[in-house]
């Protein structure tokens, strides 16, 4: 059976399909960019928090004969903050027990920008606690 007027039936279909695939390419690449940015930010938050959590209160540590490893909150916040470049520090707080930091950064999108999503805000947070005398993993 032949249907009249089928000329050009593939081109419109492929045009639609191409647009669909292009959006998928955008999602794959931009989602990848976003996840990569998220990992990067998490690594930054973690190492900054760890730096803060190594600022223990030496007086308290000595006074307790090495039993109390608590943080010097002011020094811990400074040490953490010093390592946070090019990021927005959403929250940074230190107590004698832990340092908490939440950072954010706008991440430009490559492909989805054409669809109006020019950038996305990625966030990461991290908590670090002081430990002393770690001799074995898990101890």
């Amino acid at each position: 059976m032949r249907i009249e007027g089928e000329s050009g039936q593939v081109v419109p279909m492929v045009t639609v399909m191409s647009l669909g695939i292009l959006v998928m390419v955008g999602l794959v690449i931009d989602a990848g960019v976003m996840f990569a940015a998220r990992r990067d930010l998490q690594a930054t938050a973690d190492s900054a928090a760890r730096a803060g959590a190594s600022v223990i209160d030496e007086d308290a540590y000595r006074a307790s004969d090495g039993q109390d490893s608590v943080l010097d909150p002011t020094g811990a916040e400074l040490a953490t903050h010093r390592r946070l470049h090019d990021v927005e520090v959403v929250k940074l707080s230190a107590s004698p027990q832990a340092v908490f930091v939440r950072v954010a950064r706008p991440q430009p999108l490559l492909i989805l920008g054409f669809l109006g999503f020019s950038e996305i805000r990625v966030e990461a947070d991290s908590t670090a606690r002081p430990r002393t005398g770690i001799l074995m993993p898990g101890s």
Partner: protein, 134 residues
């Protein structure tokens, strides 16, 4: 005029376009995954380096760890570069790690349709413990 076979001809003409788009999709996915791997290498390398007693040991340990992680992610060691800046290496200072990786786009699982290569980079800064024993 008969239109018999015209759809097939059209399909033949547009197939390369579709193929290139799908190649982009696959290639984009591969680059994304390699970028994540490069970041993991930088981070792990830094975390290992700060446990060392001396700067030269830090470089050695950091690079070895970077190589292990890269192998785990299936990266090609010959195209991986790990540089470790130990700085003053004093307690409380930072060690900086830079990682570069070259992706040959023609070797991606994208039918060899993408030309050239892409350079992926990542950096990581890791603090040295203020009270670590050496």
């Amino acid at each position: 005029m008969s239109e018999r076979g015209s759809a097939a001809v059209e399909a033949l003409l547009v197939a390369p376009v579709l193929l290139v788009l799908i190649a982009l999709l696959v290639g984009g996915g591969q680059i994304t995954s390699d970028q994540a791997a490069v970041r993991a290498v930088a981070r792990e390398s830094g975390r290992m380096a700060v446990t060392a007693s001396t700067p030269s040991e830090a470089v050695e340990l950091g690079k070895a760890r970077g190589g292990e992680v890269a192998a785990g992610y299936g990266l090609d060691a010959s195209r991986l570069g790990v540089s470790i800046n130990t700085g003053s290496f004093e307690r409380g200072s930072d060690v900086e790690v830079g990682v570069t990786y070259t992706v040959e786009l023609s070797s991606l699982p994208a039918f060899g349709l993408l030309p050239g290569s892409a350079r992926l980079t990542a950096t990581h800064t890791e603090p040295i413990d203020r009270y670590m024993s050496r």
